[in-house]
Amino acid sequence: MNDLKLINNQNFFLEVVHSNPNIFLEQFLIRQEIHAFNPKTVHRIQAYRNSYYARISNVFSETIFDLASCLFGSDFIKGFLIDYFYENPSPLEMTESVKEFPSFLEKQENIRYCPFVPDFIKLCLAINDILGAKNPESDLEFTHSPINPEKIYLQLEIKFLKSKWPIYQMYCCAKAIQDFVEEKNLYSSENAVEEYRLNKLAAVSDCSENILIFKSSPYSLECILVPEEFATLTEQLILGKNLAEAIDYTDFEETNFNYEKFSKWISLLSEKKAFIKKL
């Protein structure tokens, strides 16, 4: 088998593996390339097809989209993943291969019954990016010295998601379900998990929410709710402005401004180490 023949054979193998599982294998068995295989074993090429869709749906639903599986059910996420990979042959790197999953979901006709799912998938991808990004540098943290707002910046590895859905409540809900499953070891008791999930989801109130995602240490992920009135300020911080510049740009309305809420929110961000000092 020369190099060109090998490439043709391997492309054929990959074509079969990626093909829609509903297509009968017989359609491939009449192709010329099939003669490279031992006739006694060639029918087992089906094992690779089955394995491909089982693998991609299991791996992604249990890793990057683990929280989405907790919240919406793993079968629901797996079903969309299979549809997605059928239409989007994957590049070499696994994480890269699901980058377009949210936009794929947005185009699905039946997503209108659950239009909040794509934003939650974006959140899962953002969390995965942040977890694998550079750790926060401890020498850039604030000590007890007075803080000049012109030296206060957001961490470099941070993501800000704006959503018209209650993304923060959904995140908290998914985390609670995940903890419930882990604590009770209820993987085998789907009914109990389902009941817990429905109770949690029923408590989510419909509103738009924004969320800030970063690491406070190499092993601690933080997801912080950004109140709507501070969204513009956060956007400016994300663009690289310092806190003083971001406040100036935002031009808060002084008469109605809730100083106490702002102070508490900034304190929370400081406590969770969202800020660094300028070098």
């Binding site: 391997q10 990959l14 490279a36 006739p39 042959p89």
Partner: protein
């Protein structure tokens, strides 16, 4: 096919702690077991899946790995080298692998004798290749490039396969021996894969394992499998069966002691089950 069952698991006291610190058996490091490994006094050799870590720049996975690598011997195993693809080698992958190995200093660096992807399609699987002189030349050239980049020996694993090629002029072990002779690479001998492929393609696993040149073997894998229709499937979700333990025992006596990794990839594998199999392996007579 006899499998080690739960009653057998509970009959001894092999599932509490690592009882032979000098044993060669270890396990794959999985995220769900970080805390349990941290809590053990004695760690066995642990296998790190390179692809799960080598593109990370920070975060909990690297944090746990850094703690663990200070406490035990680690071996690195990759799944994305795609060494037998007819297309060019992904050199960026090789350089990332080199940087990662410089960080964790493994005793063995391995991947699989297979192809897995083209520039546009990834199977996320280990797909078999024809064992011919042409593929021998192709894979030899690529191993030389990889070893030049990583500046260390590359070790290749025999895979479980379900289909075979008409043009095969070597068995898998003969092919691996020849690659080692030509390039100085090593063999990761997967005992379960020998058993599975032998069953699937109708040859004798004992005859095949006896062909391996002992000095080329740098590491072992051992795992469970499942029977599906007319073939065995490498599922990594069960205890190792007795026939495979017998092959393993033969390998330890006739090839020699090497790091031997028990592969369990099912999502909810119990830590005690892993410890049990490590201890079982270390107590093999």
């Amino acid at each position: 096919m006899t499998q080690l069952s739960s009653p057998f698991l509970n009959s001894g006291n092999l599932n509490q702690n690592i009882n032979l610190s000098h044993g060669v058996f270890g396990a794959g490091l999985r995220a769900c077991h970080y805390e349990q490994w941290h809590n053990l006094d004695t760690l066995p050799v642990l296998e790190i899946i390179a692809d799960n870590y080598m593109f990370l720049k920070g975060g909990p996975a690297l944090y746990h790995l850094a703690r663990i690598k200070e406490r035990t011997t680690v071996v690195v195993h990759g799944v994305g080298l795609n060494i037998a693809s007819g297309y060019d080698l992904d050199r960026n992958y090789c350089y990332a692998l080199k940087d990662f190995c410089n960080f964790i200093n493994p005793t063995v660096i391995s991947d699989h004798l297979c192809f897995s992807a083209s520039p546009t399609h990834n199977s996320f699987d280990l797909l078999p290749i024809p064992f011919t002189n042409e593929t021998l030349n192709l894979v030899s050239e690529k191993i030389n490039i990889v070893q030049d980049i990583i500046q260390k020996q590359l070790t290749l694993e025999n895979i479980s396969s379900y289909v075979s090629y008409q043009e095969n002029s070597y068995t898998e072990i003969e092919f691996l021996n020849e690659l080692c002779k030509r390039t100085g690479c090593g063999i990761l001998l997967d005992i379960n894969n020998i058993f599975v492929s032998a069953f699937n393609h109708g040859y004798d696993p004992w005859q095949e394992i006896r062909k391996v040149t002992a000095s080329y073997v740098k590491q072992y894998h051992i795992a469970g499998h499942s029977k599906i229709e007319d073939y065995l499937f490498d599922t990594h979700d069960k205890f190792v069966c007795e026939e495979v333990w017998n092959l393993m025992s033969w390998a330890l006596k006739n090839i020699g002691n090497r790091p031997a990794i028990i592969e369990r990839d099912d999502a909810h594998v119990k830590f005690e089950d892993l410890i049990f199999e490590i201890n079982y392996g270390n107590n093999l007579k």
